[in-house]
Amino acid sequence: MSEKKGFIEVIDFHKSFGSKKVHQGVNFFVRKGECLGLIGGSGTGKSVLLRSLVGLEKPERGQILIEGVDIVPMKERQLVEIRKKVAYAFQGGALFDSMTVFENLAYPLREHFGFSEKEIHKQIMEQLKEFGLEGSEKTLPGNLSGGMQKRVGLARAMMMHPEVVLYDEPTAGLDPYNTKRIQESILSLKEKGVTSILVTHDMPTVYAVCDKVALLQQGRIGEQYTIEKLRQEPPGAMSQFINGESA
């Protein structure tokens, strides 16, 4: 892995669905500890790109380097180690609806670590406290609000202490209070040195948590700026997108 480039590096990424070419040579990188905001119109393939970073989708062409290792040719079994490092926070939480919040959080610990049930209980209680979810451990996901489901999803993704977190629309459909809580959780993880990529349409969240922003347009990264640059003088295409003047 070159020092100049990133902890995560996407090179010449191509992905199609049938005859529709969604990505036509996407290139970007994210340095360790950095948070990249990935924005773009609906259907531009932001979530597909994010899913590919954890091996849930395979590109037709291109490389995805995580710490310099290309994950594209990896089989499911080999991807297990990557998935311990790279967590994915699903848009709707993707909680297992037949399990309680406690069991959802215990899932990665029971699968990958030899912890005793006592240790698992301790870790989960700490995690619930950190994410403001105390008292919800016995609740089934169906009985939680949308915001709480997202936070449980985020808490579950963090149970394995990943080095990278991929957020898929973490604040979509949330009220300002829950949006703020999610932003705080992301910032808290960022302070711990977690590298992250955030797919969102929510510009206040981008300004609040991201270090740089990339605009996905017409199958490529159209523009990419640091958050400071974006604050000072919103540049061309990105400015148009943010102001709702182009898709």
């Binding site: 849930l56 998935r83 699968e111 394995m160």
Partner: protein
């Protein structure tokens, strides 16, 4: 002609995709069965869901079939003075065909539909993706427990259906056909062989695969939201049922050849 050709090619493509997909899924099941961790708890949960919860359905179906067949055989054969052959005829028919086939069809309707809709809903709500993203295998966590549970419970349910079906026949034989219950029971025991039982029992393992694997396949291949969950459920039941009925002929033939050999 062109109007007919298009649906036919689509149908052919779907069949080829199904055969390939089910083949690959079965390969993955066999491959992952012997690798890594084995989830006993999930298998036992599925045994309860698939086996125990199907008991009332299987008992009622088997009892009804035994009773109806006994009545029809009895009334039909009475004209030729062949009422005494009812126990033998009924026992062999139930053990070889009716027990395994009807039990499997009932299970395909109840369990096949349940498997496809449950897995389909998990796909739609990204729970299957979450299993993968958390570094675990959906084949191990979802498919293998259901396949194994079907393989374990269906032969047991078939055995139960055989007993209950013959019991139903005995009840009608005694009450409606005025056959002596002891005679009926003795005839069943003396005329039906272990081969009759094993033929039906052996088929049930194949039928279990015909139910579980396609149902998991259709569930896992749900793509476009909840509407497709319903379509997948229908496909799972129809496909499993067709496989059972068509497969029964070939398996019967195979078992006859095998019996002649030994």
């Amino acid at each position: 002609m062109n109007n007919l050709a298009l649906p036919f090619t689509v149908f052919l493509k779907e069949i080829l995709l199904f055969i390939g997909g089910v083949g690959l899924l079965f390969r993955d099941v066999v491959r992952e069965l012997f690798k890594g961790r084995f989830y006993w708890r999930l298998v036992s949960e599925q045994i309860y869901q698939i086996g125990m919860r199907s008991l009332p359905l299987i008992v009622i179906t088997a009892m009804s079939i035994g009773m109806v067949m006994s009545l029809q055989f009895g009334l039909g054969l009475e004209k030729f003075g062949g009422k005494l052959y009812v126990p033998k005829l009924l026992a062999v028919t139930i053990l070889r065909e009716m027990g395994p086939v009807f039990t499997s069809l009932m299970l395909a309707a109840r369990v096949g539909a349940g498997i496809a809709s449950e897995i389909g809903s998990m796909v739609v709500t990204q729970q299957v993706d979450a299993i993968r993203a958390l570094g675990t295998s959906p084949i191990k966590k979802i498919v293998i427990p259901r396949v194994l549970a079907c393989l374990i419970t269906l032969p047991m349910l078939v055995t139960l259906a055989n007993i209950v079906g013959n019991l139903g026949g005995l009840i009608v034989g005694a009450l409606e056909l005025n056959l002596d219950p002891n005679f009926y029971l003795l005839k069943i025991m003396s005329t039906s062989s272990i081969q009759d039982y094993l033929s039906g029992f052996g088929k049930s393992f194949f039928f279990a695969l015909f139910i579980a694997v396609p149902s998991c396949y259709f569930g896992l291949n749900v793509k476009n939201g909840t509407k497709e969950v319903g379509i997948a459920t229908t496909k799972a039941v129809v496909t499993s049922s067709i496989l059972i009925v068509v497969g029964d002929f070939f398996l019967s033939k195979l078992f006859w050849i095998f019996e002649k050999m030994i």
